[in-house]
Amino acid sequence: MAFGVYLANRAIPNPLLETLGEGEAAITPFVKIASDGITLITPRADKGQGAYSIQAYLIAEELDIDPLSVTISPGAPGPAYYNSAVLGEGVPVPAYDHSPVAETLRDATGAVAKILALQMTGGSSTVPDMYSRMREAGAVARETLKQAAANRLGVPRGDLKTENGMVIMPSGEAIAYTDLAAEAAEISPIRKVALRPRADWKRLGKRENPRIDIVAKSTGTEIYGIDYAVEGMVFASICANPGIGGGLKSYDASKAEKMPGVQKIMEVKSGNAGVAVVASNTWYAIEAANAIDCEWAAPDYPASSAEMWDLLEDAVDNEGAFDHRQRNEGNVAAALSEGAVYEAQYRVPFLAHAPMEPMNAIVKVADDRIDIWTGTQIPLFVRNRAADLTGLEKDNVHVHVQPMGGSFGHKLEMTHVEQAIEVAMAMEGTPVKFTWSREEDMTHDYPRPASVMHGRGRVADGKVETFDISVAQQNMAGEWFGRLSGMRLAGPDATITTGSWDQPFAIPNYRVTGYKAPNLVPVSSWRSVGASANGFFHDCFLDELIHEAGADPLEERIRLCLDNTSRKVLEAVGELSSWDGPSMGENRGRGVAFCMSFGVPVAEVIEVTMTDAGLRLDRAFAVADIGLALDPTNAEAQLFGGMIYGLSHAINSELTYENHGAQQNNYHVYEGLRLYQTPEFTVKILENSPKIHGIGEPGLPPAAPALGNAIFAATGQRLREMPFHKFIDFV
């Protein structure tokens, strides 16, 4: 991976060229040089995972600048910023397969993403997608600046060096990049560049480099979407139908109209129907919205959780609901036809994303243009929808992407922006800051889908011999893509079994089948989505069979593992946790779990104690292999952060439905892990994988099964449904 030769693909124009001022250079879509400073364009959105920082460091490594001393901007959304990696998860080959056929399939999905101009942040794809592109951008900019200096001085480019934002002459004299902006703008970019080998890196892979946003985020000076201010703006909120997609029949705002600060009350049809309030303060708007009496029309999905569970149970193992079977090895039917079959049934609930920053957008409609300031993972979908709603040309839609106070997939949706646009159109000329209350946010989330699993297996001679699981879920991928694009996504929904079918194990009889349930409450992506359920199903059921066989949980996983990188991860977590079996004495136990997701094998161990006050999590260990840790400090944070997000939901959280609406509306009934429940963490990143991978999501899937397996080791109780607090008390 050390050297690569970059030849520019000119098919997509550089969007920065249209916005340049006099004497400014945009050498690539990612680097803008002006006489008063350097701007790096970091088009993958930052929702807390450190995307802006790593994109800046990738450019800086080749451009020889200090990323803390330049301006970082997400840029205007555009096709030049397509994501070539995000669709790679959907290919029908497992991530540990690096054969030519598998790589060709992955490359093909990248080409599709480019054609679709799919500028999106998600699927732990920022690093694999941008790893080469942004270093190339830095190198192209560097060599072009050197060429500009060479032209001015009349010396060969090869005689010049670069350092800390300057071109250095052989004499040692320096010219700042900013002084070369006008000249660099006049010449063709130098596109044939060699990337620096890893051994020469000064910033990437180094632990001492801080994230670029840490000081701002420690001083209250980071400006999130919800903090952004536009001159003359008013504040708005909404009360929308709790039945997602149902209409508004009538409403009575007579009480709300008289409340303080209220300026306007209006019906909203876009996104999800409701009644919006414009006021002089967000709190006045929320209070007034809560005081409106609405009569809602019912949406067209089942009204209650009980009905939804029945439909999921009806779908699993029902030939009429068959969706896909991407793993079918040995002869499962024959193996299960005689002798004792071990069976178990699992389920996971709908889950809210509930990031700390509620959904919000500032929208201004004026002078035949619309400006939208919002934290979003899907800026081009937002632009297209805004054009549809306003009737404006796409060129007159300006989406200004803001940093996000968390997302976990929530900001892959845009209902709130649609609502804000409709309000802003009614307030033409006045910017509107539109904010969902926490209650509105949680009850109008598109949740992580619920799903159910039925498992069957057999063991013989102390080994797992047969493993057969069936998973049923609604069509998450199709619903989500259809909602955003208006297009129908044909074919199977891979997320139903992602995290089950693609695990690097060799079991003699091994089958994973996905079944598609009818559409229930509308759902969406969620941190690690398919693997968040399947990691639990696959690993806990495997753990059950291993215990049934009388084998050691870690040793048997290692024996079954067919991928070297994954095996080393399992061995490393054993070493890190001083694994010597699941038993740890009376009322104590440890569990191990493994899941490969987004190409990253992750193994986790959790130690627990059953106390008089309930179950306590003592220590947690996690090992992941991402091929190359560009920012080791942040990679570790993402690993334990993902694990904690997984534990939060494994222990505490679910959305349930009555009368089509979510019954949980705020953090008191949708609890996350708190500091006192958090175990001591030890994490380790390995770099054996042949490819580089992102780590925003893969830490999550093994968390719930590691805890479930630990609880079994400590108490003998096997938990097959989340959240666990329904079945066991926690400290």
């Binding site: 985020k217 420690s218 303060n281 996000m404 968390g406 209350s437 926490r438 944070a637 996350g672 006192y676």
Partner: protein, 152 residues
Amino acid sequence: MKFLVNGVEREADVTDDMPLLWVLRDELGITGVKYGCGIAQCGACTVHIDGLAVRSCQIRAADVDGEVTTIEGLGTPDALHAVQEAWVEHQVAQCGYCQSGQIMQAAAFLDLNPEPTDEAIDFAMSGNLCRCGTYPRIRAAVRTAAKKLQEA
């Protein structure tokens, strides 16, 4: 209505029952203080009133009696408070949205309890929710901040 915020007298024309959080954010433009839940469950809105940590979503404007300090008044990027220094040192923040509240909570707690036990830290900080899961580093940063303040 008059407020003393970060050493400056400010005025806002609001109803008596408007929570301090919304006076600060939408009337005075002080956005380091965050809205997360509105019901004292997440702690993102934590500020100090006369040095004590309070959830600003639960304090009515008319009931504010004392000097309000927000994260902006604790320290600045060029002059960090010891707690903020520790937060930077441990690279705590991920999305960062809850961290203003976490830092304000930690600063007030360490003022009252300069040599806290690990149990006391866990107890004091458990009212502040972090969805990204930065807790292991929050724990470490509070310990470091305690040392820094002792040495100062």
